[in-house]
């Protein structure tokens, strides 16, 4: 008897979740993120036909072509993916949106759309593949480059970086996390949790650029990030469809119930940290930044706030497929309008 083919809970093979061959540099952190996305969507049993992949312009924004080949993708214009994603989700709220941006695409040209996306709590997983530089135009600084970080040619950044996580929390994002492309376990758990969240997930993943920003003096190099990664907690995720009872010590582990019934277990590492406390989240970001470290893990979560579509009070069905009889008012309605104008 042949070995049974490995499938997920909706009967799909891992192969279905793969995408085209990457054209990014060998060793690029973005490829590792694509791999985690593939794993997370496979393991969560997400139907690729319901997924939309969105991106702006840049190395990061190329990556949606490299995962979930059976899903629709939209590689939009530079920095404006949030609006395209917003429109798509307004059209069909049953879709699952994953947007991939970069630190330049988000922090520079796209900061306006990023800011307003965070305010709306649109259901979307928004990933910043953050390497502190513009890879596709050969290594110029981006707005997330740290003060004192050095380019290959010796130029030192003296502008304040934008902390996309702090910004997202302040603006109202309901799931804010930071991870490192090299931390498979943490990133996978966060991505799965992201799929269980209804609202805006802002996931900043530090993802070193092996070609332009991986040298001595860079604060976004592999070795620097590895040495300065300060995980807030050990993240484990139990999806809603797995009936597992988890034994944990409430003194050291916090359980967060996700929107779809999944559970997140956050085991404290150093000091007590509560990711539902906005002020604590802002404090930890400021403190780790001051120490020259990166706080990683789930930084802030608000699982139950209404998402944008609920705020707009739209019908449950996708607007895009409503039949004409529901979208064209009756002749009586038109006549009533006409009469009011006479």
């Amino acid at each position: 008897m042949a070995t049974p083919i490995k499938v997920n809970r909706i009967g799909l093979e891992p192969q279905i979740y793969k995408g085209g061959k990457t054209t990014l540099c060998a060793g690029c952190g973005h490829n590792a993120i694509s791999e985690r996305i593939i794993e997370a969507f496979y393991e969560m049993g997400v139907d690729p036909k319901q997924v939309i992949k969105l991106s702006g312009i840049g190395c990061s924004s190329k990556s949606p072509a490299y995962f979930l080949g059976g899903s629709h993708g939209f590689n939009a214009v530079h920095g404006r993916m949030p609006s395209v994603g917003t429109g798509a989700m307004l059209a069909n709220q049953k879709l699952i949106a994953i947007g991939v941006s970069g630190d330049g695409d988000t922090g520079a040209i796209g900061i306006g759309q990023f800011v307003h996306l965070m305010r709306r709590n649109l259901p979307i997983i928004y990933i910043i593949e953050d390497n502190g530089c513009y890879g596709l135009t050969k290594g110029q600084f981006s707005p997330t480059a740290d003060v004192g970080s050095k380019l290959k040619n010796g130029v030192v950044n003296d502008l304040q970086p934008i902390d996309t996580c702090a910004l997202a929390i302040q603006l109202g994002a309901t799931f804010v996390a930071r991870s490192f492309s090299g931390d498979k376990k943490q990133l996978l758990a966060l991505l799965k949790a992201a799929l269980s969240h209804r609202g805006t997930v802002m996931l900043d993943v530090i993802s070193p650029c092996v070609t332009f920003n991986d040298h001595e003096g860079s604060t976004k190099s592999y070795s620097y990030v590895k040495d300065h990664d300060d995980p807030l907690e050990e993240v484990s995720f139990v999806p809603f469809f797995e009936d597992i009872s988890v034994e944990y010590d409430p003194g050291t582990t916090q359980e967060v119930k996700m929107h779809d019934g999944s559970r997140l277990f956050l085991k404290k590492l150093e000091e007590a940290y509560d990711p539902t406390d906005k002020l604590a989240a802002m404090r930890v970001l400021h403190e780790t930044t001051r120490r020259g470290e990166f706080a990683t893990g789930l930084i802030y979560i608000e699982p139950d706030r209404d998402d944008f579509l609920r705020q707009l009070n739209v019908v449950d069905e996708p607007l895009a497929s409503l039949p004409l009889e529901r979208t064209r008012p009756s002749k009586a309605a038109l006549d009533e309008i006409m009469e009011s104008l006479r």
């Binding site: 214009v77 404006r80 609006s83 307004l90 409503l322």
Partner: protein
């Protein structure tokens, strides 16, 4: 007040015969003084008298305190374009009153706020001084409301002087204020105070009269923006993203009102639409493109500055082939320009909006009926051609009140374009998102969530299967197909309206709101100089075959436009033969005011070699300066 103060000391020098239902009234007020209600009541009362009427608001880019003019034209012949001359002035604004009076033609009449003492300025006008403050006090005890009620007095004065029945005024008033009982009562009092005062005080000295006609039965009064909004709603729009900008804001605002009322699901109380006020015009179009890509009927409305900002996204939608409907309610540019004045200055830049070889389909309504109808066509065409459709309105059409027949309920089925279904897929065998299987340049599309094969949408080079490609042959094949699609569009866009006169040597080509002035101008040409002119009203870009035929049938063609550069003429030059181009001449009007018939006739006749008497341009409404 002594009776001698009542009218001008001298009688108007010209003895004039009665002028019935053919004159214009201009109300000069201060912005924010609540004159809009009084003006609309006056407008509607004339409509209710059965007399064709139109209203145009000339307002500053300001909320309160700057001069504003509202012009009402009554025309027994049904002309609704702007009339260049003002016949009857209501001078309420001290700041402009003097100039407003000085620019009137002899024989005009002036109702003015008595303290302004305008009657000393000229002896060839009829003056009716009215002590507005004295009259308003007894009818409006609440001092805070007087400012709003005061203007209604001039409606009463005019009702008496022009012969508008008070019953019509009252009917118009209750239409305007609806169920606000207290406001209706107050305003009725003011209306009556005006009428009584005029009745007791004035002897009719001017020649202007409104007399009952039967030309407006069943007519509605509506702004083009509201008409377009109704069209969008009836087209089944589901996603709207917009950013406020004059003169387009009222399109989306009236749409919000209509949608809340008529597109809320009765059972669930939920909306069958999503309307989002975006962070800017770029995001507005981005949302529309995302929604169109995901299968929704989506739209935005903006003006020139927004169109400029949308440029990059417009190119993406053209190249990635996503539907989008964009209303451009044009105002005067370049840059911020004159934000509250009208123009047709975005035609050329919108036709080619974005970098690279980009071309867009433009629809150009002339009337409020066409705002309604072409709004519906725009959605059909955007899905049929999987491309942005720009509906080129202007401020005059969008924000002014137009008389129209009631809109017809749509009977034509909507066109959702070429969508891949299981049956189509079976028939085709193999599907490629950008593969032209029918030879019309239009490929079948799928949308997320429809269960059909997915594809990767991108603004970068792609092959028929939507795969990334930098191959020269893939690029050429793709952009040539887009051109083929544009050619196909010529057979789908609204055809021009052509009125070809036998033996006419000259033809006029016009579009948008110029139509109303051209219509009147043709009568002027015929009646004053026996010049017969054929007329071609363009309703869309790309051009259709009728254009060349029309040019060939005439010796000279006058292209009438409300821009400086003759933008339509330039577009025509790009594809017409040199012989046809040689026949084209421009008649241009670009001072921010709606084009008027007299200006076209004079320009055209002078180009035809006629002697045209030069007349000073009435400057009042165009002469506002300062106040930034």
């Amino acid at each position: 007040m002594s009776p001698t103060d009542v009218v001008s000391q001298e009688k108007p020098t010209q003895a004039r015969t009665k002028v019935i239902n053919d004159f214009s009234i201009q109300v000069a007020t201060v912005n924010g003084s609540g004159s809009q209600t009084a003006n609309l009541v006056l407008l509607r009362s004339i409509l209710l008298m059965g007399v064709p009427v139109s209203g145009k608001n000339m307002f500053p880019s300001n909320i309160a305190g700057l001069p504003t003019w509202y012009t009402i034209r009554a025309s027994k012949r049904g002309y609704v374009g702007r009339k260049k001359e003002v016949d009857f002035l209501i001078a309420m604004n001290p700041e402009t009153a003097k100039e407003d009076v000085m620019t009137l033609d002899a024989g005009s009449a002036v109702v003015y706020d008595e303290p302004l003492k305008l009657n000393t300025l000229r002896s060839d006008l009829t003056f009716y001084p009215v002590p507005f403050d004295k009259l308003v006090t007894p009818v409006c005890p609440d001092a805070k409301l007087r400012r709003l009620v005061r203007n209604m007095i001039y409606d009463g004065i005019l009702a008496k002087l022009l012969g508008i029945e008070m019953g019509m005024m009252e009917q118009a008033l209750s239409r305007q204020l609806g169920k606000k009982a207290k406001a209706v009562t107050l305003n009725q009092g003011a209306l009556k105070a005006g009428w009584d005062y005029a009745d007791a005080t004035f002897t009719k000295q001017d020649p202007f009269h409104i007399e009952k006609m039967n030309e407006t039965a069943g007519k509605i009064l509506i702004e083009g923006n509201a008409a377009a909004a109704i069209g969008c709603m009836m087209a089944g729009v589901t996603v709207v993203a917009w950013y406020p900008i004059t003169p387009s804001s009222s399109l989306c605002e009236s749409l919000i009102g209509y949608m809340r009322k008529y597109r809320t699901d009765k059972e669930t109380g939920k909306a069958t639409f999503a309307i989002v006020q975006a962070e800017d015009e770029i995001a507005s179009l981005g949302m529309v493109i995302g929604a169109g890509w995901a299968g929704a009927r989506a739209m935005t409305a903006t003006a020139g500055p927004g169109i400029s900002l949308m440029s990059e996204f417009a190119g993406l939608a053209y190249y990635a082939e996503t539907p989008a409907v964009i209303f451009d309610v044009q105002r005067v540019g370049p840059s911020t320009g004159l934000p509250t004045r009208t123009a047709q200055g975005d035609l050329l830049s919108t036709a080619f909006l974005s970098h690279g070889d980009t071309r867009h389909i433009l629809l150009i309504p002339s009337s409020v009926e066409e705002c309604y109808e072409l709004a519906m066509s725009a959605f059909d065409l955007s899905e049929r051609f999987q491309t942005p459709i720009f509906v080129m309105m202007d401020l005059d059409l969008g924000m002014n009140n137009w008389m129209a027949d009631g809109f017809e309920y749509p009977t034509r089925p909507i066109d959702r374009g070429k969508r891949l279904t299981a049956d189509v897929l079976k028939k085709l065998g193999e599907w490629g998102r950008y593969k032209d299987v029918d030879g019309d340049g239009i490929a079948y599309r799928t949308v997320p969530g429809d269960g059909m094969p997915a594809f990767f949408t991108r603004g970068s080079g792609h092959n028929p299967k939507a795969q990334y490609s930098e191959r020269p042959d893939d690029y050429v094949e793709n952009v040539d197909r887009l051109n083929r699609k544009f050619e196909t569009a010529r057979n789908y866009v609204p055809a021009p309206i052509v009125d070809q006169k036998r033996n006419a040597k000259i033809g006029i080509i016009g579009y948008g709101t110029s139509h109303w002035a051209i219509d009147e101008c043709r009568d002027q040409l015929r009646e004053e100089t026996q010049v017969e002119a054929s007329y071609f009203r363009l309703r869309a870009y790309p051009f259709t075959q009728e254009l060349a035929t029309f040019i060939d049938a005439h010796e000279r063609i006058y292209v009438v436009e409300q821009n400086r550069d003759g933008q339509l003429l330039m577009l025509m030059k790009l594809e017409l033969s040199p012989e046809r181009v040689a026949k084209l001449r421009s008649v241009l009007h670009y001072n921010g005011l709606p084009i008027d018939a007299r200006s076209i006739s004079d320009d055209l006749l002078s180009q035809e070699g006629f002697e045209v008497a030069k007349k000073a341009t009435p400057a009042s409404a165009s002469s506002m300066t300062g106040g930034e």
